[in-house]
Symmetry: C2
Subunit: 529 residues, 2 copies
């Protein structure tokens, strides 16, 4: 397969626009030759109308066939082999080993959704049987399950060219649930997106899915994305990226005549709180673990730990010395785009311009030509942190602030000033943690995932993962964007009242042919009726 | 107990404002003597801050004790006896028998939530156990469950003084989940609201709930409600009422710095489609059933069937004659408020002013002095209906439009123009219904509840009920406002990673002391780990 550079309107290619852009290679500061055609407003409309039409057909395709479609996507992605990995490496600057891992995660995500819909219980079927002779009025037969909602818009994300992009955490569950997907490719990796789109289209064609079940459009600006969110046929939006970008889309989704959910996962500073005894006993190991987490992938994770809270306690000096030396040994790394690199240095310098912020540790300064970052740790007192909200904000990249509090009271106060976070970590053994119930509750209230004695980087793809969190970590804190329950973003409940068994959806039929877990008269069971 | 007329700021009464209003008795066109103090902005702030403080304590109270609180509310409501029913009768004009039934439903709703949280599986606990020796990286122990979100604002609704008001469908699940509630009492029944608030406060005090777990404020305008929705401590809003009111609140919730969900259930026209054979065979019975549903409770239900679609077929004349005579026999009934009555006649007359809309049936014209309505059926052709979106809109009251289509093709086209609905009904035997798959799919796509051979009025309170629907029936179509799953509007998922068993919430502990249904390593089970 070769890169086409044209918009995928269902199974057809389209390049109405003369405006094109090219892939940038951040590690070499060059552009690759292929041209990508920015979509026109007409192409946006055509993709959306085709998706709306495809929805009528796609929603009725049995789950086993939709599962076959998802598995075919995994096969077609793997069939792209090294071509895909090499292109991703060029476009993102991420190491091949990391990209191989991310591709595996993407395949795993799609496979999990195929398994989920094959098994089928995820529709949460609920049945209340009729009581015709009830007084004063008879009780109807009521049956409820989740059904798809319609076309879903997916925004590719810069920092995960596979797992959070064209065939990633939004596309997988949206397709699994029975919704067509329209992807706005991320301009930082259009070639990867193009190849992945081809894989999806090929999979759709060979498994007999309707034309329009998948489309993908290009833009290196904001116009196409905005038009997709505003289109009347759009029913939901998935996005992972910055607060600014996420909220801009969220507001567009709300300003429509028919508001639609824009599920924006917008990152956070992921505070880590280290209690005194734990610091005393694990100073050296903590320094190593934190330095590794802060600098992993050049710090370009939404789960990067941007704030570490400690108290003035025994062995704090040893911790700081080790943290400093660990960070100083971190090699420079190319960032995803020159924009991200510029922004990293800009925000870092702004933080250092704040009162009483000092530099605790830096790595070697990288090559600017190669868009490299310099791992950096700032240091500030608890009082100064509390007084300055600017210090509570995310600096995307290998950067973290060490907040040194006088004591655990000040630490609790500092933590109380934090907004919603994807994660919070507490470093403490159980007996020490148990001494601080107010701190536990505060960290719990602000976090989507509360970690004990671990760092936030590394998002396991499993049912118990919640990747999201109170605002502003996520625009809508009620859903995860990772794991099986992320499918709930793209379905609505529907009730069927007094339907004849022959016409009911298979998940709601009396004899439970799929053997699903169902709630029957308020009891969970796999029995037939 | 006597009516206080003051704002309930937690357990304290407050009446800062000199501005007051009184209860209006629609059936007598008089005002009752008690004065209700409109809340000030200071009282709004105090209620919200007290709620935020109460949340820290209330969220940690064991579910069995919260269940005890809910049951105490039911006891205190019942203890109000006839005083409550009589006041509701005066303030709403609704018959005592209906109010008795609604009170029973309200008690039932609260009891169901008490049972739900006592049993406990509703938190949807999910556990993925650790794999410490997994390569390349170990797998953490991850455990997820639903947790409360914080203060919830509830708007009382005019047409259900009990079931959708102070202790109704929003308050029950919000309190059950562990959230404080702040009610904006509906100005159409402030006395009922006052008495109910006293019952809740008494129940909270005698079951040891924190001060601020419940507050209630008065306003006969929009200022207090708007301030509650905009307050930074508010985390979600429940509302049942008009499209205009619901969307105004929804927009306020979205324009905040931190957007919050405003779950507005805004009613709909609830189309009923009658297929030709069914009409032919059941003309007389259908006329009686429809007339009963259209005029039930003076048509003041969000599930009132405002549109009935038929085709020009055998026995249509018999159906129309019977429909006419059934409607003409309906006695006049007092509407909830003079505003609702005025609006009913205004909208009805606007519809009759549309081209080619004729009058099929009317009941006796009621007393205007007593705010009575006149049951009315309009008639229009399928073509005229399709051409005029004005005819697709709700007229709140005992009113319905009979849309007579040339044939089932035209009927399908007419139905295709409908927006989202709480319900859709299809009158057809299974073999006839099966002949129209496109019609089935269309009605399915637009409806929250799809009924076969039944009318939409009567909302069963059970797990399989979905009361909501695609926009504009509901502002957020992903949740029901009735039944156990309505609790999901007021909780968010949270993950606990690598927590010591001793510190975990009880629902997530290894030995499953509550015997909950949990998802363990992706399998549903009640086993311990």
């Amino acid at each position: 397969m070769s890169i086409q550079g044209k918009n995928y309107i269902g199974f057809s290619l389209s390049s109405q626009n003369d405006q094109t852009f090219q892939s940038y290679v951040p590690a070499l500061n060059i552009y690759l030759p292929e041209k990508f055609h920015k979509a026109t407003m007409d192409e946006v409309s055509r993709a959306m109308e085709l998706a709306a039409k495809a929805f009528d057909e796609y929603a009725l395709i049995p789950a086993t066939q939709r599962a076959g479609f998802l598995m075919a996507i995994t096969e077609e992605i793997m069939a792209l082999g090294d071509t895909l990995l090499q292109r991703a490496h060029q476009e993102t600057g991420l190491p091949l080993a990391r990209l191989q891992g991310e591709r595996a995660r993407t395949i795993n995500q799609l496979t999990q959704f195929a398994e989920l819909i094959r098994e089928g219980s995820w529709v949460e079927a609920s049945i209340d049987t009729a009581i015709p002779d009830r007084t004063p009025i008879p009780k109807s037969d009521l049956r409820k399950m989740f059904v798809p909602i319609g076309p879903v818009i997916v925004f590719g994300s810069s920092n995960f060219p596979f797992a959070y992009s064209v065939a990633g955490v939004d596309t997988g569950p949206a397709l699994a649930a029975g919704n067509p997907v329209i992807v706005k490719a991320h301009a930082a990796h259009p070639g990867v997106s193009d190849l992945t789109a081809q894989a999806i289209v090929k999979a759709a064609q060979r498994t007999g899915m309707p034309d329009g079940v998948f489309s993908m459009l290009y833009d290196d600006g904001f116009e196409v994305g905005a038009a997709l969110v505003k289109h009347p046929e759009s029913k939901a939006v998935g996005f992972t990226g910055s607060y600014k970008g996420g909220m801009a889309l969220y507001r567009l989704g709300q300003e429509r005549e028919e508001p639609i959910p824009v599920y924006a996962e917008m990152g956070s500073v992921n505070p880590i709180v280290i209690l005194p005894d734990y610091l005393k006993n694990h100073a050296v190991q903590l320094a190593r673990t934190l330095a590794g987490s802060v600098t992993l992938g050049a710090g370009q994770f939404c789960t990067n730990p941007g704030l570490v809270f400690v108290t003035e306690t025994e062995n704090l000096d040893i911790f700081e010395e080790n943290y400093k030396s660990e960070i100083s040994n971190v090699p420079s790394a190319t960032m995803l785009t020159s924009g991200i690199q510029n922004n990293f240095y800009k925000l870092r310098d702004e933080l250092f311009a704040q009162e009483n912020v000092t530099e605790l540790a830096v790595s070697e300064s990288g090559s600017d030509e190669q868009n490299q970052s310099q791992a950096t740790i700032a240091r500030v007192s608890g009082q100064d942190f509390i007084a300055n909200p600017k210090l509570h904000e995310e600096v995307f990249g290998p950067f973290s602030v060490l907040v040194v509090c006088k004591n655990t009271d000040e630490l609790l106060e500092a933590v109380s000033h934090l907004k919603g976070q994807l994660t919070a970590s507490l470093m403490a053994d159980a007996p020490e943690a148990a001494k601080y119930p107010a701190l536990l509750q505060k960290l719990s209230q602000i976090s989507g995932r509360f970690i004990m004695n671990g760092v936030p980087t590394g998002v396991e793809v499993c049912p118990s993962m919640h990747h999201g969190g109170p605002f502003p970590a996520a625009s809508i804190p009620f859903y995860t964007s990772v794991g099986r329950h992320s499918i709930l973003r793209f379905v609505r409940p529907q009730t069927f009242q007094d339907w004849p068994d022959v016409l009911l959806p298979v998940a709601l039929k009396n004899d439970n042919p799929l053997g699903l877990f169902r709630l029957i008269n308020n009891k969970t069971t796999t029995s037939a009726i």
